[in-house]
Structures are given as structure tokens and as C-alpha cells.
Symmetry: D2
Subunit: 138 residues, 4 copies
């Protein structure tokens, strides 16, 4: 995965849990943001950095300041989908991730979304991304 | 509450649960969409219609097609906040809710967001809002 | 509430969220443990100590080592229930909470459960409950 | 997987999500029941029957009547664990699943639990497991 570029999507699979459905019979809308987070974690891991390491070793946190999700088609229990994640914008003080939720063949798009993050230290104070971490985001 | 206008906010209180925090020490970002849903439920109830009744009696569902949330300040465990909800746009085929999450005095805004919904029948097919329900949304 | 005894239940209200339902049309089973946590928080608060304060001021955490829940009758969206919480056993090294989920009239029991906890410090090491906190648990 | 016996465990992998952690820095206790559900789903799928199909095609639901979980060691964000599931007891009117959450080498047990279920029809009325489904459970 080391050669994946920032304009490329990193991909990971999630399967809709029963817990994630609601009485309408489909996946509940807030869970998409959880899957986006799963996508972000996979993105980092595939680049060679773990989110846990960013927090523990570099005291760098990525709180979300803005989230958006469009719901194109409903998802059902047990359905297995791709969460596709890429960075659409990177600055020293923040980063924007973009997401697609698609079928395994990347033909049907169930959802698109984005999250904007700032970088903070352990006390929630804004900071620049440490220089050692920049390569993972660009 | 029967005289509340559609440009007014309906209000309900939520207290941040331990389950809703994450290891950063604050409320996890997807939970805001859950609180927005709590706000929508309270909005309907305060207008005199229950969401449950819309589904069961009128076969009318309000799936979300777009959700957006801005995170202004983090929320902590056990913090009690207001979820303020209003309808910002209503059409026969859909409705947009707007939200604020504030402190009890409505002075500090923790989050703002919106959700756009379409009306569907029990099979997910778009429909107009039944005439009997229109007064509750306008 | 200062006179509530440890053999008495502390009570708080929760309303079933749409997020908490599943495609079977009832509240999903894991959420009962979340409501138990809401009950524990209310128990502490009604005794005059916040769980947050225990963690921050006394470096005392209450990780769960055992949880059990019996499901008597299903719960529906928007249903408002009482979460009744009491301490059934207290030792310097741990505590057991008991729960009932009932209707507002305490006539219908929807669920019963318990959670056993140990006391730990911030590093997860078992510890005795600080002497200042004992009165809140007995 | 067709030869897996009912005294054997079916296995699936879950990775702890950020959403599933809490401010104590570990996975929140209610999520274990969600992972158990993931284990049940994998168990059924590996036996050749999907839970979805049971509901849709056979009008057979498996509501939980009792759940229990013991927490041996905490789980951290991004940790990947095995959810091991087996049926410990089967009767025409109900079934008990047993679970272990272990590391990938099955050496460290993080949690053990069980869930007891009854079989119901779509209206929540108890029923016997349809004869066609019995082979999947025995």
C-alpha cells in the first residue's frame, strides 16, 4: 500500500451490523460517520501510521470540526460495503477526508461524505502536524 | 407548545453518556447526529404528533438524505445540553431540520447542524406528506 | 435525595431513541447496558458525587468486570421508562449495582440486570475505594 | 465451514473502533454485546444460513432473553480480536450461544459471555424453530 497516493482512495470493508439497523429496516444514519472513522483508521494504517501512535507517540489528535454525509441508497443488515477514504485537502493545521461507501464492485455509491479535522495536542489546543507525520498525509 | 412557529426552536435536554465519550475524553462525533434525532422526536412530540404515529398510522417515513454537523466546542461526559430543533424548509416532498446544541442558557453553542429528509412510504418509495400531517410541519 | 439508602433504588428516566431500535422494531439488546450506565450515573449524582469527579479528583475508576441483563418484554421507540438503580453489594475493592427497567408506574418490569465493578486507579491497577468516597456507596 | 460441529467455535475478526472506546481509554462494555451479535451472524453465515434469511424467508426471529458478559482484560482502540461463537444449548423453542473474545492466537481471553434466545414469529409470539432450520443449529 506504500505507493498509494493522496488522490487515491484507501479501501476497507464493513458489514452492516444488526445493532446498526433501526426500525425502518435499514442502517441508521449516524453509523455512516462511524464507518467514515473506520475508513480514516484504515487509511492511516495503510499509509504506515496508526492513529493510536499519532495520539500516544506524537501527542497529536484529529478532532472533527465539520462532518457531512449524503445518503444515496439505504443499506441493509449484513450487507458488505467498501469504505473508500482519501485526503482531499491537507494543511499544516488541518486535514479534510473524503469518503465513498460503495458496493464491492465500486459501481453503486450508497453514500458520500467528508470530515474536516484540525490537529490538536492532548489538551485540545490547536497545533501544527509534527513534521515526522507530514509524509503520511501528503 | 401548540403555538410554536416553524421559525422557533423546539428544545429538549440531553446529558452526555459515558458510552458517548471516546478515548479523546469528549463526546464522539457521530453521537451528535443521534442527539439531532432526539431533537426531531421532541420537535414532533411538542407539535402534537409522534414520529411513531407518522410511521404506523400514516405510513410516512422520513429517511435522511443529507446530514451536516459543525463542531464548535467539545462536550464532556455528564454535561447537560439543550438540543434546539426547528424546521428551516418544508416542501410536500421533503423537509429540512436545523439544530443547535447549546448550554442550558443558550449562550454557548457547541454545535450546529442540519438534516434533510424526504418523505417515503413503508417501501422506501418517495411520497408527498399526507395532508393531515402538513399542519405539524408548517 | 440525600436520605436515600443503599437498599433503595435511585431512579432516572430514559426515552428509547430511534438509534436504539433495530430492524426487529424494538430496542436493541446492547442498549440496556448503556441505560444501566445512565442509571449508575444518576445514582451517583443523586448521592451527591459525580462519576466525573471520582475519576478526575480521586483517580478512581469503576471498570465493569461482569454484566448481566434479562429481557422480559421488548421496548419500543419513544417509550419512556424508568431506570432504577441500587447497590446490592459493596466492598472496599468493588461494588455491584442492580437495575430494573420499568414503566413509569413501576408496575411492568421490562428488564432486570446487574453489573459488578472493581475500583482501579488511572492505570487500571486495582485499588481500594478512597475513604472519602465510601459514604457515597454505603 | 460446512463440517464445523456445534461444539466447535465459529470465528470472526473485529477491530475496536474509536467510536467504541470511552474516556477511560478502553472499549466500552456494551460494545461486547454488539460483537457477540457479529459473532452470531458469522456463525449462521458459516453454517450456510443468513440471519436475514431466517427473518425474511422463515419469519423466525431470535430475540435475546438473557445476556451475560465477563470482562477479563480491557481492549484498546484498533486492537484486532477474534470473536469465537458456538451454540452451547439448542431446543426447539430456544438456543444459547457462547462467546469468547480472544487475541488472534486464541491465547489471551479478553471476555467470555453468553446469550439466550427464544424463537418468535414476526409478531413476537414464541414459536418452534422451523424444521428446515434445525440442521443449521445442531
Amino acid at each position: 500500500m506504500g505507493t498509494t497516493k493522496s488522490d487515491d482512495y484507501s479501501e476497507t470493508t464493513v458489514r452492516v451490523r444488526y445493532a446498526e439497523t433501526d426500525q425502518m429496516g435499514f442502517a441508521y444514519y449516524a453509523n455512516y460517520l462511524v464507518w467514515f472513522e473506520v475508513g480514516r483508521g484504515a487509511y492511516c494504517r495503510q499509509r504506515g501510521i496508526s492513529y493510536q501512535e499519532m495520539e500516544k507517540k506524537f501527542a497529536t489528535f484529529l478532532p472533527v470540526v465539520d462532518a457531512r454525509c449524503r445518503y444515496k441508497r439505504p443499506l441493509k443488515y449484513d450487507q458488505e460495503v467498501l469504505v473508500r477514504t482519501r485526503i482531499s485537502r491537507f494543511q499544516r493545521r488541518g486535514v479534510t477526508f473524503e469518503y465513498q461507501i460503495t458496493d464491492q464492485g465500486r459501481e453503486v455509491v450508497y453514500s458520500r461524505g467528508l470530515t474536516r479535522h484540525i490537529f490538536t495536542d492532548g489538551n485540545g489546543k490547536p497545533r501544527s502536524l509534527p513534521a515526522e507525520l507530514v509524509p503520511y498525509f501528503t
